[in-house]
Symmetry: C2
Subunit: 344 residues, 2 copies
């Protein structure tokens, strides 16, 4: 890796529904438009075929050979043992070795987590990586007016959580809100069924005093509607609740899209209908707007996007990777976790 | 109570944000339009003032005196002890005594549950009442095209649940889907983070085999998006998850309404914008469309509506009460619970 302004990213060219075609397209776009150096990790012959469709002479793209792909349906831990040179593992290895600042994948989230954990390691006081981000309207706070910059986490990685783990999520989310969203002193809330301290299930009731005694800017419990009403900047829940909310939001976009004619009747001009449809899909699939989000808790930058990603999404995910690295997100997360630990 | 076609309902005239004015208005409407007999429960002098605004001579409306109101902020159990003649308790008592077929309230859900449990009792194999219904688009399956007839339960009453309690929710939900929505053999799913049997948290993983061995038409786990995509007719979760999803959906309507200009830009004609706004609020607040929903698990009919209910909502809630009674929902619930119990 060269000077401080250069940015090198390892791209898992074999992960995702439209790999390697759309991944290569996105990588080339990132190299062309932003001058990124790309380590394209995948099956050499397949990548040569894809690259032969483009004028790549002047671009900083290097093919790095890998063997095999970890599929969405594979058990991640077992698959990594069986395919130690799979594309996503090789990509993570390039970050560990210092050859890349970050890796980006559109493949299985479980595989990305396992590979990143194994190769890059976890931050202190973290047992397992987490996933976080706004449910709505893109990863940056400025997309779509005031809607839902609120970061929700965990979104599915930690399904059963002891209450103290929610504290760790909060620290990671605060760093994200500060570095990526530019919020100075992010407000933290616990997702629950009522705003009073006594309201909630066993998990949130036990978590509440831990949050109150922490150094976090804790505003108390928040309810389901508050995620969308700018009550807090970071809202924590276990991965069971978060994953259901994330997929519910996605389903909402799909269902509204499908039923728009029934819902709005014939009175809507086709042009406006198309405009609303586009916004709906964008709003309810933040990963498709932002390209992808970082794995939280990894000691390094790993960006995971949507399996359906196209070239544009891949290019956006690479920009997200650059923002994470240049913004110092991992260092900020490490600092927040340490501050938490000093008190408790 | 007279012949089999007559319908007598006790209406808690003091519960709700706009009580007694809007409650009285709705009760009068129900009496006028549907010939319902109304037992209007509340403060006698306040009700006389309200009734003096209408021509009630020919209507079958009787004022039943009560003392005090249980507020949203009161602890329901304690409040019932302190105010044993509060309007909602008196209304439940009228069902127990056989003077009314059902009661309807727009007051505190907790108070309605406590009053109904205390006065009317619970069905066999039920520890605590539950709340259920579609998250979206009204309580009947035909409102708003194919959108979300799916019944989700529990919506907030049972926050920490052992896995077997989810089975009881399913039985109650199946009866609701059959009687109120007209679905012959309702498909039942467990809300989880993946469709395979092994996916979920401890609670859903333990519940899965119980469902598999039951007499329910169990289709397995469903994910967040499936609630909206007609994958199952009844989806069960604990009241923590259900309450968050319900309030998230409400918040969605509010947030989209607020940000519509940012989202859709100036290109949308005011008339269409108003039309979309109206649909949004209706869609995301089923209680406002249906007027209210029954408490599940009570040995009798208790309908609880939204605190913000207006006269029209109250009249709709009374129609819901009639549908529940005439459809035999409570008997159907009792039968489903017994069938479940015979097997396990």
């Amino acid at each position: 890796m060269e000077g401080k302004d250069s940015f090198t990213v390892a791209v898992d060219a074999m992960g995702g529904d439209f790999a390697p075609r759309e991944i290569v397209k996105g990588a080339i776009r990132a190299a062309q438009e932003n001058g990124h150096k790309i380590l394209l990790v995948g099956d050499e012959s397949a990548l040569e075929v894809e690259l032969s469709n483009y004028e790549v002479g002047k671009l900083d793209i290097i093919v790095v050979a890998s063997e095999g792909v970890i599929e969405e349906t594979d058990n991640p831990i077992r698959a990594i043992k069986e395919k130690p040179y799979a594309s996503v593992v090789q990509a993570a290895r390039l970050v560990k070795s210092g050859d890349a600042h970050a890796f980006v994948t559109m493949g299985s989230t479980g595989a990305a987590m396992a590979a990143a954990t194994l190769e890059m390691g976890l931050l202190d006081n973290i047992d397992r990586p987490a996933i976080g981000g706004p449910l709505f309207g893109g990863l940056s706070r400025t997309v779509f007016g005031g809607l839902s910059r609120t970061v929700l986490m965990d979104l599915g990685s930690n399904v059963d959580c002891r209450p103290s783990r929610l504290l760790g999520f909060a620290a990671l989310g605060v760093a994200f809100a500060r570095v990526i969203q530019g919020i100075e002193n992010p407000r933290v809330g616990i997702l629950s069924v009522g705003s009073e301290e006594g309201k909630g299930n066993r998990q949130t009731k036990e978590a509440y005093p831990l949050f109150k005694e922490s150094n976090l800017n804790f505003i108390g419990n928040v309810e389901g509607m508050d995620i969308l009403l700018d009550k807090a900047d970071v809202v924590v829940c276990d991965g069971f609740v978060g994953n259901i909310l994330m997929k519910y939001t996605e389903g909402l976009g799909m269902a509204l899209l499908k039923h728009m004619p029934d819902l709005l009747g014939a009175s809507l001009p086709a042009e406006i209908s198309a405009q609303i449809s586009k916004k709906l899909v964008e709003m309810t699939s933040p990963a498709e707007v932002g390209g992808g989000g970082p794995l939280f808790g990894i000691n390094g930058t790993a960006i995971v996007g949507h399996g359906r990603a196209n070239g544009e999404n891949v290019a956006q995910a690479i920009i997200m990777a650059e923002n994470v690295v240049k913004g110092g997100l991992i260092e900020a997360m490490s600092k927040e976790l340490a501050a938490l630990n000093q008190l408790g």
